[in-house]
C-alpha cells in the first residue's frame, strides 16, 4: 500500500459551506478511486507566505490516503488543476520515507541496547577541554 499526503489550499473567498462541500467532494473522489482516507486534517485559514493570485490567505487541508496505486492521487490532482477554488496543492508519497525513518529508529535502539556504556571519547574530550581552559582561561568561553 502506498501512503500519500495530499495538501491543498482553498481560496479564502469560499464560504464555510463551500469549503465543507469542496473537502467532501475531494474525499469522495479519493474513495471512489479506491483509496482509503486515513485522515482529513483541516488547518483552517492561514496567512500565505506570499500572494497567490490575489489571495493573501488560504484554507489549508491535509488529506492522508492509502491506496495500492497512484490512481486516486492522479485523479485528485486533475481535479485540483481544473478547480478554481484550489489555489495551491501538493501531493507527496510518504510511505517509503516513513519506512526509512522507522528503520533508522530501530537501528538506533538496537545500537543503544548493544552499547549502554557512554562512549570513550567523552572522557578524552573533557580532558582536552580542561587543558585548553587552563591554557587560555580568557578565551575559552566566547560563545
Amino acid at each position: 500500500m502506498r501512503r500519500y499526503e495530499v495538501v491543498f489550499v482553498l481560496a479564502p473567498t469560499l464560504t464555510d459551506d463551500e469549503v465543507e462541500q469542496a473537502i467532501e467532494s475531494f474525499t469522495k473522489t479519493a474513495r471512489d478511486k479506491g483509496a482509503e482516507v486515513i485522515s482529513v486534517d483541516k488547518w483552517g485559514k492561514r496567512r500565505l507566505a506570499f500572494r497567490v493570485g490575489k489571495h493573501t490567505d488560504g484554507y489549508y487541508v491535509v488529506l492522508t490516503l492509502e491506496e495500492p496505486s497512484g490512481a486516486a492521487v492522479a485523479e485528485l490532482e486533475r481535479r485540483f488543476k481544473v478547480s478554481d477554488s484550489v489555489i495551491r496543492f501538493l501531493s507527496v508519497r510518504t510511505d517509503l520515507d516513513l519506512k526509512r525513518a522507522e528503520k533508522f529508529k530501530k537501528e538506533r535502539e538496537a545500537r543503544r541496547a548493544k552499547r549502554p556504556a557512554p562512549p570513550r571519547e567523552h572522557a578524552a574530550y573533557q580532558e582536552m577541554e580542561e587543558a585548553l581552559a587552563a591554557a587560555e582561561p580568557t578565551e575559552a568561553e566566547e560563545e
Binding site: 495538501v7 500565505l48 489549508y60 501538493l90 560563545e143
Partner: protein
C-alpha cells in the same frame, strides 16, 4: 578562538523524517533573506540538509514559507 562545536540538529534530536508541514522547524533554517541556510553555517549533516532542502522547497510551493524576502 575556541569555536563552538557545531552539530546536526536533526541527528541530535533524532528527527528521521523532516515534515514539510512543520513550518516552525523549517523556519529556523530560513533566515530573513528567505534563503536556505547553508550547512557550513548551521552544521546540519549532509543527509539531513538534503532532506531539509527538499522539505523547505515543498513548503514554499504551498506558500507556507517565502521564496524571497519581501
Amino acid at each position: 578562538m575556541v569555536r563552538r562545536r557545531k552539530f546536526c540538529k536533526f541527528c541530535a534530536e533524532k528527527i528521521d523524517y523532516i515534515d514539510f508541514k512543520d513550518t516552525r522547524l523549517l523556519g529556523q533554517f530560513v533566515p530573513e533573506r528567505a534563503r536556505i541556510l547553508p550547512r557550513r553555517i548551521s552544521g546540519v549533516c549532509a543527509t539531513h540538509q538534503r532532506k531539509l532542502a527538499k522539505a523547505i522547497k515543498r513548503a514554499r510551493h504551498l506558500a507556507l514559507l517565502p521564496y524571497v524576502a519581501d
